[in-house]
Symmetry: C2
Subunit: 692 residues, 2 copies
C-alpha cells in the first residue's frame, strides 16, 4: 500500500466519515489537492511545449531540464509572493507530549479510531513556527516520493538503455571512475568543506552544528553526476561511442555508488555519547554497510533480471505488463530486504536489457522501450520542475555565502581530483589513452541532477542538512543551466579535434574487463600510441582473454539458458550433460539456431554486431530523429574491432544479407534498421562468407 499511497497521501485525503460537514471539508481539500497537482501537470505541459519549440527551432543552448527548472522557479515565485492561502481551520493542532513522532497515528475521536500517517515535519525554520501558508505546504512533496516513485524509472531507464557492448568494453575504467573516483571526490569535497566549516565556525558565521560526517555526507551526495543531463545533450550531437559509453557508464554507476555511500555515512554511528568522533569500529561497520548494501542490491537486481524469463511472446500486452511488474518488484524486494531499491533497479535494467530483452517479442521490445522512455521523461521533468519550485517554496533555506563559495570550489576540485589523477593512473594501464581534452570534457560534463537533489531533500531536519540542501540546489541550478547549456557549444568547438585524436589514439579493443582495472602492471607497454597491424593483433590476442572467457561463457551457457536466442545448450554443453541440456533448452532455441544472430541483433544492441556496425558505418541522426545518413567504409573495420568481433560481424553480414542494424547514438531512439541497396551487398558479403 505504500508506494501508491505515498503519492496519494500528498494529495488525497480520504473521507471515511458520515459527518456531512467533515465530508465537505474533505471534498474541499481534495479539490485543492487536485488543483495543486494540476499546477505540476501544467508545468510539465508548458515544459513539453517549450522543448518542442526549442527542438523545432534547433535552439540548443538551454537543456529541457533547465527549462523545467525555470518554469518551476517562476511558479515558486508566484506561490511564494503572489498567492497567500491562510492555514486551513481543518488542521487541528494537537499539542501532544509525545517524545517522538510515530509513522502511524491512531486517534481516538469520541470512540472512533482514525488512522493518520506521518507526512513529515513542517516549518521548523523560524523559531519553530508552523508554516502558515497552506498553498506552499500543500505543494511540498514527501521526499520519499522521489526515491520510491520518481527515481526508479529514471535509473531503470538508464540501465535499460546502456550500450552494453561499449559499457562492458570500458568496464574497467568505468568502475575505476565510479568507485574510486566517487570515493575520492567524496573525501576531497568532505575535507575542503570541513576546512571551510571550521573557518566559518572560527569567524562565527555558522548558525548550528556541522560535523565532519555532515561534510562527508555533502561530499557523497554532490559526487553523483547525472546521466540525464549529460547524455541528453550528448545525444543531440554525434559523439564518439566510447566517450559516450565511458561518460554514461560513469555517471550511471556514480549515482549508485553515491547513494550507497551516503547511506553508509549516515550509518556511521560511533558508540558512546560523542557521536561525531572518529572510531575505527564504526568506520569499519560503515564500510561493511557500504559493501553489504551495494553487493546485496547488485545481486538482487541481477537475480531478478535473470529470473524475468518470459515465454509469453504471443501476447505482447501480458509480456509488457509482466516485464513492468518484475522490474517494479525488484525495487520493492530490495527495499523490503533493506537494500537500496534504486541500485537494484539499475542492475536489473542492465541484466534485463542483456538477457530478457532477447526473449521479448518485437512488439514488446518496442513497448517496453517506449514505456520506460515515457516514464523516464515524465519523472525527470517532474523532478527538475519541482527543483525549481523548491527554490522558493521550501521554507527552511539556509543560504550562507561562504559555504556556497566553498561548496562550488570543493565540487570543482573534487571532480578534478576524480578525473585527472584517475585518468593518469588508468592511462598507465590503458593502451587506448584517455586524451587530455577528453578529460576536460569529462570534467566539464560532471553535472549534478536528480539524484543529488533527491539525496539532499531526503532529510532537511538539522541546520547542517538545511544549509546543504540550499547549497546543493544552487549547485544543481548552476551546473544544469551553465554547464548543461554550455556543454553543447563547447563540444562543438572541442569535439572535432578530440574526435580525431581519439580515433588515432584509441584503438578500440576489448582489452579491459571486469577483473582487469587498468591499473594492473603487466600491461604498461609505454609506447602504445601507434602500433602496426600485426603487433596490435598480438597484444589483442594476449590481452583479450578475460573478455573472451566471459563472452564465450555468456554466449554458450547463460544466453541459451536464460533466453531463447542463444545456440541450444545441447550444442554447447559436453555430451555427458545431454539430458540436462535437453531439459533446459526451450524448443524455440532450436528453431532460432539458424537465424541466431538475426534474432539477437534486432534487439537494442547486439554484442556481436555493435562494434562492426560502428566500424563501417557512421551513423548520424538528425534532430528530428528520422533521417539517417550512413557512410560505409572499410577503413575503421580493422582498427576498431578485435578479431573475433570482426569474424562475428562478417558472419553476421553474410547471414543477414541486405539488412544492417545501425545502433544510433541516442539511447532513447530504437535502433534504426537500414535496408542496404541490394546490388552492392551480395558481392560484399559473399567473399566474407568464404573467409569464415
Amino acid at each position: 500500500s505504500f508506494l501508491l499511497c505515498v503519492f496519494l497521501i500528498s494529495f488525497l485525503i480520504s473521507n471515511a466519515m458520515d459527518n456531512v460537514s467533515t465530508e465537505r471539508l474533505a471534498e474541499e481539500s481534495h479539490r485543492q489537492d487536485s488543483a495543486n497537482l494540476l499546477i505540476f501537470i501544467t508545468l510539465l505541459t508548458l515544459t513539453i511545449l517549450t522543448i518542442w519549440l526549442f527542438k523545432h527551432r534547433r535552439f540548443r543552448f538551454l537543456h529541457e531540464t533547465g527549462l523545467a527548472m525555470i518554469y518551476g522557479v517562476l511558479v515558486g515565485v508566484i506561490l511564494r509572493f503572489g498567492v497567500h492561502v491562510p492555514q486551513n481551520m481543518s488542521d487541528v493542532i494537537l499539542g501532544c507530549a509525545v517524545n517522538n513522532s510515530p509513522a502511524t497515528l491512531l486517534v481516538n475521536v469520541s470512540g472512533r479510531f482514525y488512522e493518520y500517517t506521518l507526512k513529515g515535519e513542517v516549518g521548523r525554520g523560524k523559531g519553530h513556527q508552523v508554516q502558515d501558508d497552506e498553498m506552499l505546504r500543500k505543494v511540498t512533496f514527501d521526499p520519499e516520493v522521489f526515491f520510491n516513485i520518481l527515481l526508479p524509472p529514471i535509473i531503470f531507464h538508464a540501465g535499460y538503455s546502456l550500450k552494453r557492448r561499449h559499457f562492458f568494453r570500458n568496464i574497467g575504467s568505468i568502475l575505476a571512475y565510479a568507485f574510486v573516483g566517487t570515493v575520492i571526490s567524496c573525501f576531497v569535497i568532505g575535507l575542503i568543506m570541513y576546512g571551510f566549516v571550521s573557518f566559518m565556525k572560527a569567524v562565527g558565521q555558522l548558525g548550528g552544528d556541522f560535523f565532519f560526517t555532515d561534510c562527508l555526507f555533502f561530499g557523497a551526495i554532490v559526487s553523483a553526476t547525472d546521466p540525464v543531463t549529460v547524455l541528453a545533450i550528448f545525444n543531440e550531437l554525434k559523439v564518439d561511442v566510447d566517450l559516450y559509453a565511458l561518460l554514461f557508464g560513469e555517471s550511471v554507476l556514480n549515482d549508485a555508488v553515491a547513494i550507497v555511500l551516503s547511506s553508509s555515512i549516515v550509518a556511521y554511528q560511533p558508540a558512546g555519547d560523542n557521536s561525531h568522533s572518529f572510531e575505527a569500529m564504526a568506520m569499519l561497520k560503515s564500510f561493511g554497510v557500504f559493501l553489504g548494501v551495494f553487493s546485496g542490491s547488485f545481486a538482487l537486481g541481477v537475480a531478478t533480471g535473470f529470473m524475468t524469463f518470459t515465454k509469453l511472446r504471443d501476447f505482447p500486452l501480458l509480456e509488457t505488463a509482466l516485464f513492468f511488474l518484475m522490474s517494479w518488484s525488484t525495487f520493492l524486494l530490495a527495499e523490503a530486504c533493506g537494500f537500496t531499491g534504486v541500485v537494484a533497479v539499475l542492475f536489473c535494467g542492465i541484466t534485463q536489457a542483456h538477457y530478457t530483452f532477447n526473449n521479448l517479442s518485437p512488439d514488446s521490445q518496442d513497448r517496453t522501450k517506449q514505456l520506460f522512455e515515457l516514464l523516464n521523461f515524465l519523472a525527470e521533468n517532474f523532478i527538475f520542475s519541482y527543483m525549481g519550485l523548491t527554490l522558493f517554496s521550501f521554507q527552511s533555506h539556509v543560504f550562507n555565502p561562504l559555504f556556497i563559495f566553498g561548496a562550488f570550489l570543493a565540487v570543482f576540485l573534487g571532480r578534478a581530483a576524480n578525473i585527472y589523477p584517475l585518468s593518469f593512473l588508468l592511462n598507465l594501464g590503458r593502451k587506448n589513452k584517455i586524451g587530455s581534452k577528453f578529460q576536460h570534457v569529462m570534467m566539464f560534463a560532471g553535472l549534478r541532477g536528480a539524484m543529488t537533489f533527491a539525496l539532499s531533500i531526503r532529510d532537511t531536519a538539522t541546520y547542517a542538512r538545511q544549509m546543504m540542501f540550499s547549497t546543493t540546489l544552487l549547485i544543481v541550478f548552476f551546473t544544469v543551466w551553465i554547464c548543461g547549456g554550455g556543454t553543447t557549444p563547447m563540444l562543438f568547438c572541442a569535439l572535432h579535434p578530440i574526435y580525431r585524436t581519439f580515433n588515432q589514439k584509441f584503438y578500440v579493443k576489448v582489452t579491459v574487463f571486469f577483473f582487469r582495472v587498468g591499473v594492473d602492471s603487466d600491461q604498461d607497454s609505454p609506447n602504445s600510441a601507434v602500433l602496426d597491424g600485426s603487433q596490435r593483433r598480438d597484444t589483442k590476442h594476449e590481452s583479450a582473454w578475460p573478455f573472451r572467457i566471459w563472452y564465450n561463457f555468456d554466449h554458450n551457457y547463460l544466453k541459451p539458458l536464460l533466453t531463447h536466442s542463444g545456440p541450444p545448450l545441447t550444442a554447447t554443453l559436453p555430451t555427458c550433460c545431454g539430458p540436462l541440456a535437453r531439459c533446459l533448452t526451450s524448443p524455440q532455441a532450436y528453431e532460432n539456431e539458424g537465424r541466431l544472430f538475426d534474432d539477437d541483433s534486432d534487439s537494442i544492441l547486439n554484442d556481436a554486431t555493435v562494434s562492426s556496425m560502428y566500424a563501417d558505418v557512421t551513423v548520424s541522426t538528425d534532430a528530428s530523429g528520422r533521417t539517417v545518413n550512413r557512410s560505409s567504409g572499410t577503413r575503421g573495420l580493422s582498427d576498431d574491432c578485435v578479431d573475433h568481433d570482426l569474424a562475428l560481424a562478417e558472419h553476421e553480414v553474410a547471414i543477414r544479407g541486405t539488412r544492417l542494424v545501425l545502433p544510433v547514438d541516442d539511447p532513447v531512439e530504437p535502433p534504426t534498421t537500414v535496408t542496404l541497396p541490394s546490388p552492392p551487398s551480395p558481392p560484399g558479403s559473399e567473399p566474407r562468407r568464404q573467409r569464415l
Copy 2:
C-alpha cells in the same frame, strides 16, 4: 462545522527514543510497506502467468478478472487466518476528545510540528475495537485510490477505444439504455430492496438503520455494468459489430450515469431534522446536481479533448507525454471544479479518439494506445485482485442472507426492467429491431465490476453501507465468475442464430442520431423487416439527415479546425470567410488534402471506412491476435452501408489502392493492415474512381 477544541491526551506511550530509533521505526515501516505492495505485485504476476496459460491452452471458462479475484481471495484467506502480525508499538493511540476527525493533523511533538494526514477510519466493527492485525490493516487501501488512480485509466481506455462509428450509429439506443435504463434499474432495485429491508425490520433481522435513500444508493451502484468483463469476453469471439457497439456503449455510459446518480442521491439532503423523509425541493436539488455534474463533466471532458491540439508530430515522445498529461489534467480539472473526474475522462477519451488521434504521428498513435492499454490492464487486474482480497481482509463485513437474496433478486429484476421494456419501446421506433435473443444476451451480459466495487467501498462507515458493501462484493463475484465465465459458452450456442437474424433484420444504417431516440413517432413504418433496394434507399435518404448534418459539420468544419486531417477550411468555408479560414488552417492540411482519407483511416477507426470495411471483409482474429483471415465479398456492401458511406468507402478504396485497414473486433488490438495483392486492386479501383 467545528472549531478548535480542547485536547486532552489520555493515553500516550513515551519510550525515551531519540531521532535514531524513530528513523529506524520509519525505515521498518517503509520496509513492511514495500513487502505489502510486493504481495499485490506478486498477485498480478501470478494472474498474468495464469492468464497466459489459459490463453495458451484456449481455456475460456474463467475470465482473467475472475482469476485475479481467485488469487486475491487466496491471499486474503492466508492473511486473515495464516499470518498474524500484532499491532506495532509505533502506532501511538491518542485518545483525544476531538469532535470529529480533521483531514490534516499537526502534532506538536516536544516543540516540533509533524503533519499527519487522515488515512481513514479503522476497525469500528466489533464493539469499536481497533483492529489489532497490523498486516490486514496495512493491505487496506484508501478507497479514494480507486477513484483517483485506478479507475481513470480504465474509463479513459474504454472511451479511447470506443468504436466511434458504431457508437454514434447506435447513439439513440445507447443513450436510452444508459440514462433511462440505469435510472429505471436504480429505482426498481431501490424499491425492491426497500420492500426487503422493511420486511427485515419487521422480522427483526436488521441490525441498524437502512433508509430509502440507502436503497436507492444501492440501486445506483449496482446498476453500473462493467465494460471490462463483458467486452473482454466478447472480444475473444467474433461478435457482430452492432451488438458489440450497443453493449459496449451502454456499459461505458452506464458507469458514468451510475457514478453521477449515486453522488446525487448522496446529495439528497432534505431540510430539517428528519433527514430521510421525502421532500420535493431536495429531490429537485438532487436532480439539479445530477444534471449539473453530468453536463459539467461532459463539457469539460469534451473541451479538453478539443484542446489537445497537438502539432508535435516530429517528436513522438513529447507528443505521447503531452497527450498523457492532457488526459490526466482533464481528470484533475474536473475534480478541482467539483465535477466527476471519471466522467470527464470518459468523454475526453472519446473526443480525443475522434479528433486528437488524427493529429498524432503514427508512432504516437501506437504509443498512446499501447500505454493506455497497459495502464488499463494493470489497473483492472489490480482492482479485481484487491476485490478478492477484501472478501477476507475487510473487517466490518455484514452478511445478511435475506438481504443478499433480496439483492440478487433485485439486481436480476432491475436489469430485466431495464432491458426488456426499453427494447420494446426502442423497437417501436427502430427499423432494425433488437431481437429477443439479443435482449437475452444483453440481460445476461450485465456484469458488475470495478465501478460497482469502487462506489461501494468508498464509504463503509454506517451499518447500511457495510451491508451494501458485503452484498455488492458477492454480486460482483457471482456475476464475474458465473455469468462472466458462462457468457462464452452461452454465446457460442446462442450467437449463431442471433447473428443470422441480426444480419437479416438490422439493415445497418445511420438512422438514429443524438436527437432521435427511437421512440419518436414519425418513423414507425411497420413492415420494415425486408425491403427491396430502392425502397430502402428512399427511407435512408429521408432518415439519415440528422446524421448527415452532423457528419458534414464535423467533417467540413470541426475536423479541419481541430486536426490536420480534414479538408482545408479554405475549401469548406464560404469565400467571405477566406482570411479567417487561411489563418485557422494548418499548412499540413493542404498537404493532406490529397491523401485525406488515407490519413484518417490509419487511425483507430475512421468514420467513413469502418462500415464499408466491415461490409466486405469479415475479420477473424486468432487467439494469438496475429493471423487475420479475410473473406471479401460484395454481398454485404449494399446491405450494410448507407449510400454516402458507400460512396466514401469507394472513394477511399480508389485512393488507397492496395491498402485496406481492417478494424479488428478487439479494441485492444491495433487495427490490422492487410496489403491486398496488387493485381486485382487497380482494376477494382479504377472504375470506381470514374464513378465518383
